[in-house]
């Protein structure tokens, strides 16, 4: 894995150099800005980007993710405790994984207008399904022998939940986070394309209208770095939780 | 027909040769078994013959000529039937011919003939998943025949089947061999199977394999299972088991670092 990552980094660097070369050859900044131009724009506009736009997007991401997690866990536990609920809800959830939920964004704008609420809603809708399904699958993944053993100790439903299902479901939960959080960031940015007072996605769109390709890509750097940081945080959290469980 | 002359072979990365200075010969048209404990090197002999491995020194001669220049002089039948699940039985049987570039019309004709031979002429359009284990091995055998050579290498072809299927396929195989006049080299770990099928039995009982003990089975063809009860056959069976056990001991002692197992 390490080797592959090293390769990736090395190759990424090569790509960067290649990009710089092609950009310099074409020499049309509005078509292909060079990495240097992108970073220049980033550096020049960093205060505005980080102090005005970044918080707008991140607020949506954080609130949305928190709601997603709460809702997702709640539904998963609910389905876990009640078979009829599971049978009613689970297929709907699985079905929702197949339809392209982002396409419903215009409907959300109808409901909530061009507000922050709408963007939070889109983020929630995009990530809570997968959290629910994954955590629920995690609950179900408890081995039959373990469950039977607990029963022989006289354990009841709640104890089964806490001692067996939660630990089993934790890896599933973190996996769903690792998938869901980057998507939350993307969803927040895309939602801004519909209309927002600011935000990294909105910034990209406005720069696009001005044919400013470098400015368009600058927020992307911030978004990518943010996504990486969040992934590292999640992995760290996962590590902590795992050691704490032991 | 087939001769191993002072053949030495070592797997890449191994400390010791697996086969060293081995010499033996097989006559044309015979049914010969090679038996020995697992991992003793039986399959390696096959791999040297079908080109999956190459010898370090020595010669392997077919009718006096070195095999290193030759192609398609032997047909290999592996332990698992390895039938392509996405093709019909007929297409499966035609596989070696497709690769060798045989004309389509001819392929169909030969395939039909071979399938009839193995008694499966009516399943040509079925898929492997619709057949039983025994039938699949028979299809695999038909495919092996379609590879076209006179030397057949059968690598534990019946070991994955249940007992009853296995013994009926043994009887069937003998029947086929007597009709077809091929030279068969047969690997098995089942002593009784070897006794029932072959005229000569080689025991691999050494590491590195420097020589193989040769035994002749005093039974005439055509054979029946009752002939196995004869006392001289039972004595031979005990002798072979004894030799295999000794060989297994010897191999365990010598087997230091694990050789790169190539299946």
């Amino acid at each position: 894995m390490m080797k592959k990552k090293m390769y990736g980094l090395a190759f990424g660097l090569c790509l960067l150099l290649l990009w710089q070369g092609i950009a310099m050859a074409i020499d049309a900044a509005y078509i292909l800005p060079s990495p240097i131009q992108v970073f220049k724009h980033l550096a020049e506009n960093l205060p505005e980007l980080m102090l005005v736009h970044f918080p707008i997007t991140m607020r949506v991401v954080c609130i949305g993710t928190l709601i997603s997690i709460t809702l997702g866990l709640f539904l998963a536990v609910l389905m876990n405790l009640s078979l009829p609920l599971e049978k009613a809800i689970y297929p709907v959830l699985v079905f929702s994984q197949t339809i392209p939920v982002i396409c419903l964004a215009p409907v959300f704008v109808l409901w909530l207008g061009y507000t922050e609420k709408m963007r939070v809603f889109l983020v929630v809708v995009m990530s809570f399904f997968s959290i629910t399904v994954n955590v629920f699958d995690g609950f179900k993944a408890v081995r039959k022998e373990n469950r039977e053993l607990l029963k022989t100790y006289g354990g009841d439903r709640w104890q089964e939940l806490i001692y067996l299902q939660v630990p089993t479901a934790l890896p599933y939960f973190f996996t769903s986070l690792k998938v869901g959080v980057p998507w939350a960031i993307v969803a927040a940015s895309v939602a801004e394309w519909f209309g927002a007072p600011g935000g990294l996605g909105n910034y990209s769109r406005i720069r696009m209208m001005s044919l400013d390709a470098a400015g368009l890509l600058a927020p992307l750097v911030i978004i990518s770095v943010t996504a990486l940081v969040f992934m590292a945080l999640i992995r760290g959290l996962e590590g902590l939780v795992v050691t704490w469980m032991k | 027909m087939l001769e191993f002359k002072k053949v030495t072979f070592q797997y890449e990365g191994a400390d010791h040769p697996l086969i060293e200075n081995l010499s033996f010969s097989i006559e044309k048209g015979t049914f010969t078994s090679i038996i020995g404990a697992s991992g003793s090197g039986k399959s390696t002999i096959f791999r040297l013959l079908n080109g999956l491995e190459h010898i370090r020194s020595g010669e392997i001669l077919l009718e006096g000529k070195d095999i290193s220049g030759m192609k398609n002089f032997c047909s290999y039948m592996p332990q698992n039937d390895l039938l392509l699940p996405w093709s019909t039985v007929e297409k499966n049987v035609c596989l070696p011919m497709r690769i060798q570039g045989v004309k389509k019309a001819q392929q169909k004709e030969i395939a039909a003939r071979m399938l009839d031979l193995v008694g499966l002429g009516d399943v040509a359009d079925k898929y492997p998943r619709e057949l039983s284990g025994g039938m699949r091995q028979r299809v695999a055998f038909a495919r092996t025949l379609c590879a076209g050579s006179d030397l057949l290498l059968l690598d534990e072809p019946f070991s994955a089947l249940d007992y009853l299927t296995r013994i009926s396929l043994q009887e069937w195989l003998l029947d086929q061999w007597m009709k077809l006049n091929k030279t068969i080299l047969f690997i098995t770990h089942d002593v009784e199977e070897a006794l029932f099928l072959s005229k000569e039995i080689y025991v691999v009982a050494d590491r590195p394999v420097r020589r193989m003990e040769r035994y002749e089975v005093p039974m005439d063809y055509p054979r029946t299972r009752e002939m196995l009860i004869r006392s001289e056959i039972q004595e031979l069976k005990e002798e072979l088991i004894r030799k295999m056990r000794e060989g297994d001991e010897r191999i365990r002692k010598v087997r230091g670092p694990r050789l790169p197992r190539k299946g």
Binding site: K4, K5, G8, L9, A10, F11, G12, L15, Y30, I31, A88, Y90, P91, V92, F95, T98, I99, P100, I102, C103, L104, A105, P106, V107, V109, L110, W111, P182, V186, S189, V190, W193, F194, S204, R207, M208, L211, A213, L216, P219, L220, I223, S224, A227 | G51, L52, K71, Y76, P78, N80, L82, L84, P85, W86, P96, R98, I99, Q100, P128, G263
Partner: protein, 257 residues
């Protein structure tokens, strides 16, 4: 199983979900009639009526634009993806080059690059097609590549003993072995192709279901928004259904690899 039995078993297995869905639809209709705010929450009946009324616009003007983008983009994506997979399988050097590229795209959100494509191609088809390709071909490539590597060693060796060259081995063994994985990846990525087209249309287009739904939001025409979004979803579902059908009928060896 005959048709009747298949339908019966589908009902049996899903009756809770189907009932829930039906119940939700009825509740929705009731709620819509109570609230009576057409431009925000039209009922299912109203949406269907709108679908019918606007069938000219929707089906003849808007949907084909999106459909063309989705189909063209997806097909190209499949071609490029499979091609990359074959390259990676043939040469470890190419694998070492392409695989990290894929890791790279996992960190950069490709959807956010869509504004660049709209900048390049304006409001034309190209932006949508490029967005779709970049969003989907990596998944297809990786899954197909994994499928190619599933071929059993004994099978490849047997082909060797028959004297097969690498092209024959590829055609006879590797490609059929990889097909189930390829079909799975198609099932997963097709909805994303629809998303890619819609998202690109939101940024800039003159026609298309995504563009139309956004336009109708500004006109506060609730039923039209729902109708166009509904059609988009239908395209995604139809595509998946088609892929599943092809998979079921032609790639039946999924469990036997």
């Amino acid at each position: 199983m005959n048709r009747m039995q298949v339908s019966m078993s589908m009902w049996k297995n899903n009756r809770w979900a189907i009932s829930t869905a039906a119940l939700l639809l009825i509740l929705w209709e009731i709620l819509a009639r109570i609230i009576r705010i057409e431009h925000i929450l039209p009922g299912p009946v109203s949406i269907l009526r709108c679908l019918w009324d606007l069938r000219g616009t929707l089906l003849i003007q808007q949907m084909p634009a999106t459909l063309v983008a989705v189909l063209a983009g997806f097909l190209l994506s499949v071609l490029i993806g499979v091609f990359c997979a074959i390259l990676m399988d043939r040469s470890p050097v190419l694998e070492a080059i392409i695989y990290p590229l894929i890791l790279l795209t996992q960190t950069i959100p490709v959807m956010c690059i869509t504004p660049l494509f709209v900048l390049w191609f304006g409001y034309t088809l190209g932006a949508r097609i490029l967005a779709i390709i970049l969003g989907t071909f990596f998944t297809i490539a990786v899954n197909t590549y994994d499928g190619l590597r599933l071929s059993r060693r004994e099978m490849l060796e047997l082909m060797d003993t028959y004297g097969g060259n690498s092209r024959q081995i590829f055609r006879e063994v590797k490609l059929p072995t990889a097909l189930p994985n390829l079909m799975t990846s198609l099932k997963i990525t097709f909805p994303w192709a629809v998303v890619g087209a819609a998202v690109a249309e939101w940024l800039g287009a003159t026609r298309g279901l995504g563009y139309y739904s956004k336009l109708m939001v500004t006109r506060m025409n609730g039923p039209a928004v729902y109708a166009s979004v509904f059609l988009l979803t239908m395209i995604a579902l139809a595509g998946i259904a088609l892929i599943k059908w092809i998979d079921r009928h032609y790639v039946v060896w999924r469990n036997e690899i």
